[in-house]
Symmetry: D2
Subunit: 333 residues, 4 copies
Amino acid sequence: MDVIEYTPEPEQYAWTFGGVAPTHRIKPGSVLRLWTEDAFCGRLRDITDMPSRALNMPYVNPQTGPFYVDGAEPGDTLALHFVDLTPARDWGASTTIPFFGGLTGTDRTATLQDPLSERTWIYQVNSERQTVEFAAQASDLRLELPMAPMLGTVGVAPAAGEVRSSLVPDTFGGNMDTPEMHAGATCYLGVNVDGALFSVGDGHYRQGEGEACGTAVEGAMHVTMLVELIKGGAPAWPRIETDEHLVVIGSSRPLEDAWRASQVDMIRWFGELYGLDKLDGYQLLTQISEAPLANVVDANYSAATKVAKALLPRAEVYRGTHGRLREAASTIA
Amino acid sequence: MDVIEYTPEPEQYAWTFGGVAPTHRIKPGSVLRLWTEDAFCGRLRDITDMPSRALNMPYVNPQTGPFYVDGAEPGDTLALHFVDLTPARDWGASTTIPFFGGLTGTDRTATLQDPLSERTWIYQVNSERQTVEFAAQASDLRLELPMAPMLGTVGVAPAAGEVRSSLVPDTFGGNMDTPEMHAGATCYLGVNVDGALFSVGDGHYRQGEGEACGTAVEGAMHVTMLVELIKGGAPAWPRIETDEHLVVIGSSRPLEDAWRASQVDMIRWFGELYGLDKLDGYQLLTQISEAPLANVVDANYSAATKVAKALLPRAEVYRGTHGRLREAASTIA
Amino acid sequence: MDVIEYTPEPEQYAWTFGGVAPTHRIKPGSVLRLWTEDAFCGRLRDITDMPSRALNMPYVNPQTGPFYVDGAEPGDTLALHFVDLTPARDWGASTTIPFFGGLTGTDRTATLQDPLSERTWIYQVNSERQTVEFAAQASDLRLELPMAPMLGTVGVAPAAGEVRSSLVPDTFGGNMDTPEMHAGATCYLGVNVDGALFSVGDGHYRQGEGEACGTAVEGAMHVTMLVELIKGGAPAWPRIETDEHLVVIGSSRPLEDAWRASQVDMIRWFGELYGLDKLDGYQLLTQISEAPLANVVDANYSAATKVAKALLPRAEVYRGTHGRLREAASTIA
Amino acid sequence: MDVIEYTPEPEQYAWTFGGVAPTHRIKPGSVLRLWTEDAFCGRLRDITDMPSRALNMPYVNPQTGPFYVDGAEPGDTLALHFVDLTPARDWGASTTIPFFGGLTGTDRTATLQDPLSERTWIYQVNSERQTVEFAAQASDLRLELPMAPMLGTVGVAPAAGEVRSSLVPDTFGGNMDTPEMHAGATCYLGVNVDGALFSVGDGHYRQGEGEACGTAVEGAMHVTMLVELIKGGAPAWPRIETDEHLVVIGSSRPLEDAWRASQVDMIRWFGELYGLDKLDGYQLLTQISEAPLANVVDANYSAATKVAKALLPRAEVYRGTHGRLREAASTIA
């Protein structure tokens, strides 16, 4: 297996999906050992660091990549398996950004009220206990919360010549901010351009579903991942497979449309795996779907449709790709 | 403890929240042993029963009740604890109703396409294995799915003299269709009128999050429940407490507004329980919220904000009501 | 022609559609000379009157009625023709109500920001010049604006036993807040209950499309209207006919669904009038529809689909009802 | 005045805003005499031409440009004045594209229903009478409709390095599809990149508000326009000025957010022009706003907030730019 180790310099960060020359050309089957900077570019380090001063908009959410995958062509399916996500710092940060977030007016949900105050929280990481510590600021509450590392942003170059901000999720993936993107998961993305040109970033040490205030426990991350290429079979929306679940992530507005897109693609997936017609698939999904929200804050909202494999017949998903990647992962972890 | 046993006759069904005279007057602390008819009034019994012919619109989703709770006044909090939910039939039914459901145009999301075909599924209940069986119709797939009984509809009379269809969820509860409403859960509802006038119905033997096609595995239910009254403290939106979780259900359109309402009320709840200010509460919720959808099909959509108690400090929730009800339940189950 | 003159006493106001006994029983063909109180119950009379103190929630938006129309049965069409709308006071009022309005967070679009400040504006009516005067408060700007009297709220009792707040628009009409409801207009409403039980209120001396802050230039109104009954033909959504236009008002959330509902019903109307199939109707509407918003502030938003008769072939709309009512109006104005 | 005449060859069409090298470098004050191809690339010429076969997705909605404007820098305001829009063909075309449009499920508003049938309509242009002719296909109705030429797509390169499809409207303008973009109008756009890099296209011989089926009477267009540059003052959203109106176009989803964005920016504009504070601006706008929809079909929906100048005090809008451009236009028309 080819092994690529890469820690980008700040000038190498990618701020968009598409529109960026690849930093590496890799073969399917490669192992990547990457470092990703946090969404704040590491600029929020203390509770006195306020986003309006510390951040250099729109240069937020830097991505590591893009990677050109040999042989990837439009219509193919890129499989990205996350072997390990390990926090690269002993602290993470979260904050309220004026007119950004799910429970505030924004530039789109435009209201006339004053913005919420800015406040920054720093979470200490306890690696031994695998926790991060929440510390309230207006009162004394401190809570140890389990670490749950994930990547907020995983995507490929968009179709039709578009270049999209790393803040936006859509059919190409991007800033979906779903807790389903954890170690052990395989993400399937439809390839839109030669080489796929994927990149990853936006490590979260922990995040709730919906990411209400717009920023998780953001932190630099060591990412170990495997890359596979499946010819053909490009899904309409990003799909995720774990040992226990099948997941589709839809991204749109209003939120019901994000959910609808993910539901319809899961029904399509049922058709591919089990030959269910759309009405039977609709019925089955109605009774077994989990529907955890991903983000209700980004330029598109993201919703997950998630199904436990234990409820379904065994099936050969993408020709057994996830199982093979899990095995390969066990040899390198 | 007073024990009320009640199986309504069809002419005693309630079709609305509000606007109906109480069938019973009960004391706080009462035990209710009820029977609830399914949302189809038991009219879909075979895969050849089609909703367009078998249902008598708008007479669907009949409720058992309403119950007048002695001493309940506007501003109080009604606590309904579900001790046991047991299927009252050995089959459940689901169907596609023309222009109703999450993945079809409706009278609101009005489109010009032809409706989806009607199709009815009958699920056989296996009480021993505690399963229901899905049987595809266009192919041979059969799947045994775990039973997971819940009530789709729980509510009180609305405020401001309104009378609302039992198909609609809102601040008064109603047709929230959330799988969080299972045995072992305590539902807290704000009282709007003297006596509260609550009713329950719409048993589901199983339902996925979102209830995509609009109908779960619908079935008549034996419901054992306890009723408590807490003076004052009426929550803005229905809240649910289980041994493991705190939950708020918001209901509105678009779906992000249902989610927003539930999130803001959970932050309010954090304030009540822990004295967190709204920014600290927003931050904490961002990192620990679960956000499983309830329904994306009814006149209002419903979203749950759900938090694991294990992540939070111990707290006296509604003066320990849930714990006391759990204990009382153990004496009668 | 029967002529009914009626100025309700405050204890006679109706606060809901449905759930209220009729104040009068009238015959089709009757003339009504009514007085309607403003949405604030006349309590905002000075710029120092603040809604949080002066209003007695939820007792706002009082309606005059309901009227039982002899012979009206479910499925029929009620035609309400507004002959004259004349301000009944020499001032109107508007205000910002905390957490109510289109450009602020609300109980549904729930955000954590502080509310906007309350501010009340009083508009002096100049009957001679037919204007109302806007006076800015934080600066010196004063503007004379043309008077444009309309009724914000016109509706019948809802279907399925529901009782709805006078603040809510839906298929039964209600608080649509459309400037299309002016003198000279005929409003067609589907009848849901025996007698139709319509009421009217919420006079606006002037209102922009969308009613952004949630309150127009609210004022008591002298309303002269004619009532007709058309057997059968109940439209799905309120329709309005003027000498120049056909209009349908849809009410839902999100706003696109209000628009969709009104568009689909206009296509249906084209089918009734001209025999256009739905695709030809869709095409024609695409090129000739006007789409002025009505309200983006109420519990449901309202959107108008409006078509100039001049662009269409002559047609017998509701058997010429509007024309006959215009003639009748000319004899009584 | 510099005069640029330009008819692009098909290989010179731009399919995106951003990401394309300029075809011309022009000076502020230049006159452009352009030709724009229709959104279908001229491929729908007969009612038997069906989009699924005739169109080469995603190569639709070709733009003429982009033009690099000397001296334009981020933060500046580009003023584009449309002197004349004259149909370049004697026919226009419209069609139903499967799963595209406002009254059908789409890839976002994902439903399981079958698509609407494809149908193509050809409109004959009568230059003398200045009309286009609608011809129903399932029946005999033919209607002569007034010509009302406009440009559906006008925009500059987006900010933050994004490249967006010519099908998408957003803060940079783009595919807003508003009938307000007619001859005599001046469009103000905020400049995001050096040179502004604007382009124009998507001529409509006529379009209703909302553009329900997704395609107007699409036609190639002769465009005569003037280009001015205003240093600084970049608006948040595209603004339009005519002799009679001020207009802001917001683009987002759900539709209420498009409307909110346009309303808030109009209140900001009132502040710039008249020194109104935001509450007084909110109040005034509530009573005088027109709110005609633009499109409810594109990747973002577009809504116009429109105010009659006659209702407002005289003001120096963008230092009198529109008036000067009108004068200049009169010398070249």
